[in-house]
Amino acid sequence: MRRGVRLWGRLGGAALSLVMVAVLGFFLFRVVPGDPVVSMTRGRPTTAAMQAELRAQFGLDRPLHEQFFSYFTSLLRGDLGTSFTFRRPVADVILERLGPTLLLVGTSTVIAVGLGLWLGVRAAWRRDSAFDKATTGVSLTLWAVPTFWLGMLLMMATGELFPSRGMRDTDTAPDFVSQALDVGHHLVLPSLTLVAVVCAEYMLVMRSSLLEEMHAPYLTTARAKGLRDDLVRRRHAVPNAVLPAITLVFLRFGLVVAGAITTETVFSWPGLGLLFYDALTGPDYFLLQGLLVVTAGAVVVMNLLAELLYGVLDPRVKVV
């Protein structure tokens, strides 16, 4: 009974956040300066009548509350509207870009999380060792470096070794293996940049939370039982120390969908980050709203998952 109530409470909270995001998304981008109809017709001779017709077509001539009402009701039906710039349904545009983003940001995040947590554990377990000092120093430096600069630096340093623009070459053979190899080849530089930049976050969180646990009495108990040092670490220290990192990791997984605006722009990766950047220059209201709803939705869902998982990993927390 209680469990059910708590679970519904969590779900209700998540749903409420999503509604807030949808409302905010609508009004937020209406404040962005710029007239979408003017930028849609830029470079072409237009009359006032044509502009008015465009406004009517996208419903921009109606009062704000009517626009909001129709936006919100179609959102509930899963319809995100039509993009001004692409002249296609927003949902289609986003879906098309979702794949590349998941590939790039997803892979990089998984690698960065894995590497960061592992490095953090190693560094904390041998605190002040050369390994600890080196990893902390290097990852902090990379964390501090501007992403676009690191990306450009990598491009220059690797020369012609890896492609630096786009996701695939036009002249690659259409069979799966060559396509996959080509995409993988294009993936190297942008994902390397992303991993290098965000890895420090996980590493430092893991390191400091393991350091907090290092003197915990239950580790002495484990040693006294005769456990090997690496078992003490794996079975006892890490399961406790990893808890604070869980929330961070899942928030990041949620943000995967947002793409990586800087990296995607630098490497012209056709993902959601680049799409966001393009949509802002419109401003393409419906596309921006759609992107915001999708990104925020992913974060909210991931956060919910993190809370549920937390309840499984830490028996002291009653989530559901």
Binding site: T220, T221, A222, R223, K225, G226, L227, D314, P315
Partner: protein, 507 residues
């Protein structure tokens, strides 16, 4: 079975243990007594080579004839828990919080290939087999300590080291845990090395007693002999520090005349959800009177104190302070709180580690916006708490002070607001025997000089005997008995009071 020869432990240049010689035969029980910092826990940890890397260990530690110091890591791991195991203090922190206790008990058995079942081990310590599926936080303090004992016996060791196994448990639970431990040690003919700061606990469980002081073994002999005729002055100080209920020499409070009531609690009820934590309590504290509220953990005494201080709203009933009901909000509540100050059990966690003594004491003044010369008010309060001269302490951080000094800082922080009632929750429970006496004397002096009334919450009946004018015994949310100290502690009328008194270990 265990033999320590000239054991010395240094941290850098600091010697924490010096030249300790000790032997323990199978089936023998030895108590190792001493205050915090005496090196007794260091000795225990050195037996299984569990000291941190920075420790330099000299001498010989022979476990069944083998020197632990020179063993290979592989041999050492095989010896750990199988030859000797440890019941650690504070089972809450010594058990892994995210693993089921059954797994934790089974872990060393799998590791050392010992046959046996977790169910049987739990039955030995009088816990039901279902408890194996519980996590540490789901168990009570006494149950957790039994789990520790079951775990220590999992691999059939011949030596068990118990490091303060019952500290932080209340008397009744302490008596239960001690009886389980002594029964198992006798049944399985184990050697027991028991470490405690509490001589009465050791007196009850051990045949022999060794006393440590500043890293050295100062006395060793049969328990009765050592306690009855201590040869070393430190041993004498230790035995004298624990009050004996009924002994007039340990009764420090002078008789106070029947005072006017300062605080009156009338038919107070406090509910937590569906649980009734405080159930119809009537209690009075007079001007300048010291009242001890005794009871086991979970009896509702802390909830009662929080409600008296206006930190919790009562479900029904009234709290009347100085003739007026305690205000429930706003400036009036703030003004009331100034008059009632709290002293907590563990000064190390009650003080902010990054605040100097000056900040810690002055905080109350700042919160209440009291004008005036902050510096002189703070100095006066610090000196009242007998940290003299105040200038020596004002810029210290808590970790630079001893436990007793820290508790004085907490008391100074209360005194600076010139309160009329002090609510003290186990004010001496985390302090050493010698310091404990000083803090008790300080509380009595404050009453004498300032007319400060105190409500002392404790499970320590000895403390009540030492300091209080009246005692109220709390059980399951109700006050089952109250009256003058002599009346309640010497001629108890309620069964629960008798049970509490029976559980107090006797020296």
């Amino acid at each position: 079975m265990l033999e320590l020869r000239n054991l010395s432990v240094h941290y850098g240049h600091k010697r924490v243990v010096g030249d300790v010689n000790l032997t323990l035969a199978p089936g023998q029980t030895l108590g190792l007594a001493g205050e915090s910092g005496s090196g007794k826990s260091t000795v225990a940890m050195s037996v299984l080579r569990l000291l941190p890397r920075t420790a330099r260990v000299e001498g010989e530690i022979l476990l069944d004839g083998d020197d632990v110091r020179t063993m290979s890591w592989g041999r050492l791991r095989a010896v750990r828990w199988a030859s000797a195991s440890i019941v650690f203090q504070g089972a809450m922190h010594s058990l892994n919080p995210v693993r089921r206790v059954g797994d934790q008990i089974a872990e060393p058995m799998r590791l050392h290939g010992t046959p046996g079942s977790v169910r049987e081990l739990l039955e030995q310590v009088e816990l039901s087999a279902q408890k194996a599926r519980a996590y540490p936080h789901e168990l009570s303090g006494g149950q957790r300590q039994r789990v520790m004992i079951a775990m220590a016996l999992a691999c059939g060791p011949r030596l068990v080291i118990a490091d303060e196994p019952t500290t932080a448990l209340d008397v009744v639970v302490q008596a239960q845990v001690l009886s389980v431990l002594t029964r198992l040690v006798a049944e399985q003919d184990l050697g027991l090395l028991m470490i405690s700061h509490d001589l009465s606990v050791l007196a009850q469980t051990c045949d022999e007693l060794a006393v440590m002081h500043r890293g050295e073994l100062v006395e060793r002999g049969a328990t009765r002999e050592v306690i009855a005729n201590p040869r070393h002055p430190h041993t004498a100080a230790l035995t004298a520090a624990f009050p004996v209920i009924g002994d007039p020499a340990h009764r420090w409070a002078e008789q106070a005349p029947q005072p006017e009531p300062l605080l009156r609690v009338r038919d107070l009820v406090v509910d937590y959800g569906r649980t009734r934590a405080v159930d119809g309590v009537d209690l009075t504290v007079g001007h300048g009177e010291i009242v001890a509220l005794v009871g086991q953990s979970g009896s509702g005494k802390t909830t009662l104190a929080r409600t008296i201080m206006g930190l919790r709203k009562p479900s029904s009933g009234r709290v009347i302070f100085d003739g007026a009901p305690v205000p429930v909000k706003g400036a009036a509540l703030k003004a009331f709180r100034r008059q009632v100050q709290l002293v907590l059990q563990d000064p190390a966690s009650a003080l902010n580690p990054r605040h100097t003594v000056r900040d810690a004491v002055a905080e109350g003044l700042r919160v209440h916006g009291i004008r005036g010369d902050e510096e002189s008010l703070v100095s006066a309060a610090v000196e009242r708490a007998e940290l003299r001269p105040a200038e020596l302490y004002l810029d210290s951080l808590p970790h630079e002070l001893s436990g007793g000094q820290q508790q004085r800082v907490v008391i100074a922080g209360a005194l600076v607001l010139q309160p009329r009632l002090l609510v003290a929750d186990e004010p001496v429970a985390s302090l050493d025997a010698s310091v404990r006496g000083e803090i008790v004397a300080l509380l009595l002096k404050l009453r004498h000089e300032l007319g400060l009334a105190s409500l002392i919450i404790t499970h320590d009946l000895g403390l009540a005997w030492q300091i209080a004018d009246r005692v109220a015994v709390m059980h399951q949310g109700k006050i089952v008995e109250q009256g003058s100290v002599e009346q309640v502690l010497l001629n108890p009328t309620h069964d629960y009071t008798r049970a509490l008194l029976r559980a107090v270990p006797q020296v």
